[in-house]
Amino acid sequence: MIKEKEDKKFTTISIPTPLAEKIKKRIEGTGFTSLSSYVTYVLREVLSGMDEGEEEAFTKEDEKRVKDRLRALGYID
């Protein structure tokens, strides 16, 4: 495998220093090894619900085809 080019995998963001200090205190003794790992974790958590978007609607025909199969197999009445 090619050695990972770290410079392309990360970017720098700025947050207020007092907030950074608060976070540093908060992560003491936890599994988080750095301010960055904590911020990454929180942002992933916050964004994950929004990222996954709306489910695509099935066409009526597709849904009927699926229901017919489920009925034939005894999964639904």
Partner: protein, 376 residues
């Protein structure tokens, strides 16, 4: 119901084989790879649309994520013998397998080499060839193909009547009015301990999705038809019809412990499940992983969007008179009887029905109706 992993349920099936495949180089893949092709095509592996390329592979190995940051822990790879065929990047190839009848085309975006030892060590946490997953890696060819696939055809197979795609389970759950669904993975007939775990989890959600893994087995394992029939029996006698369904999953076990637990959860999320039961030493083998490593790894994925339901080891406590685990029972080990799969198997091998506090009589009788319930 959970949204598909990565936001979109992938469908890479071509409804009618109209594509002219004459002139495409053909690669005959093994049955495990053909199951991967089917799982990509019908959305079980969403958001994957094909076999991993180099960048995604690096990310999965090093970060447990695809290159777009989506959690993904098990590499889905297509290896091939570079010497045999003159395949170049940009070619379209035909992938076939006789057993599953899979015919799929693949647009080859990348052809690349990889380091087997690094791959083994990161995914399986060991380079030892005694580990079955590592042995598989060492047996792979030295070159990988990355690119999207499209499924042209597959044949009807045994147990297809139990084989639902994510699109189908999603319609099924909707029809049943289930919003929260807990998935249970299994490779064995159910004993009382399994029933306890399933019913405990089911108590807090709307429905239970029993999802046995079907496929290649080793000698002494229960045959697939035995597992399915024994669950049919349990469900008929001890589950409400509107609260539990069963469908199979055809995929190979990798024995990657914690990483595989995440992979198993992702597949169940794609089926629409909101919760996933993770037991002690989930997908483990030998002593390569700690008993609860597969629980701990979930804390690395705040964006997984399926809730793990962790169960520790459980047993029957003769003092409590019920199934217990180490969080709820204060009594000494001498009162505890473990649900030993080995012991149950031995009794069944001798044609004996295990005690009712180990296995339901109806389940045991169903197993004993088979002349040869075990893989020879």
């Amino acid at each position: 119901m959970s949204k598909p992993h990565g936001g979109k349920l992938i469908d890479r099936t071509i409804k009618k084989e109209t594509k002219d495949t004459n002139g495409f180089l053909e690669i005959e893949v093994n049955t495990n790879l053909s199951e991967d092709i089917l799982n990509i095509a019908n959305g079980v592996f969403s958001p994957l649309e094909g076999f991993l390329g180099c960048n995604d592979l690096e990310n999965v190995v090093n970060k447990k994520r695809l290159s777009n940051d989506t959690p993904w822990t098990i590499p889905i790879l297509l290896d091939f013998d570079k010497k045999g065929l003159g395949i170049k990047e940009g070619d379209t190839v035909l992938l076939t397998n006789k057993e599953s009848g899979v015919r799929a085309i693949m647009d080859v975006d990348e052809i690349f080499a990889y380091d087997k030892k690094t791959l083994a060590n990161e995914i399986y946490r060991t380079k030892e060839a005694d580990h079955p997953g590592v042995a598989n890696v060492y047996n792979m060819d030295d070159t990988l193909l990355g690119g999207k696939i499209s499924l042209l055809a597959r044949t009807q197979r045994e147990f297809d009547e139990y084989n639902l795609t994510p699109n189908e389970t999603r319609v099924l759950f909707k029809e049943k009015g289930w919003k929260e669904i807990v998935a249970f993975q299994t490779r064995n007939p159910p004993h009382i301990g399994h029933e306890y775990v399933q019913k405990t989890a089911l108590t807090f959600v709307d429905g239970l999705f029993i999802n046995p893994i079907i496929g290649k087995k080793k000698s002494g394992d229960f045959k697939d038809e035995v597992i399915l029939s024994s669950y049919e029996s349990l469900m008929e006698h001890y589950y409400l019809k509107d609260r539990a369904v069963m469908s199979i999953l055809r995929t190979s076990m990798k024995y990657a412990g914690p990483r595989e637990a995440i992979h198993h959860a992702i597949m169940r999320k794609n089926f629409g499940c909101t919760h996933f039961i993770v037991g002690r030493d989930h997908a483990g083998v030998g002593s390569y992983y700690g008993p609860y490593d597969a629980h701990d790894i979930f804390s690395e994925f705040p964006d997984l969007n399926i809730i793990p339901v962790f169960f520790r080891s459980f047993s029957r406590c003769t003092k409590c008179g019920s199934v217990v685990n180490d969080k709820i029972c204060p009594h000494d080990q001498k009162y505890h009887i473990n649900f030993s799969g080995k012991k149950i198997r031995e009794l069944l091998k001798n044609g004996e029905i295990p005690p009712e506090d180990m296995m339901r009589k109806e389940v045991a009788e169903t197993i004993l109706k088979f002349e040869h319930p075990f893989v020879e």
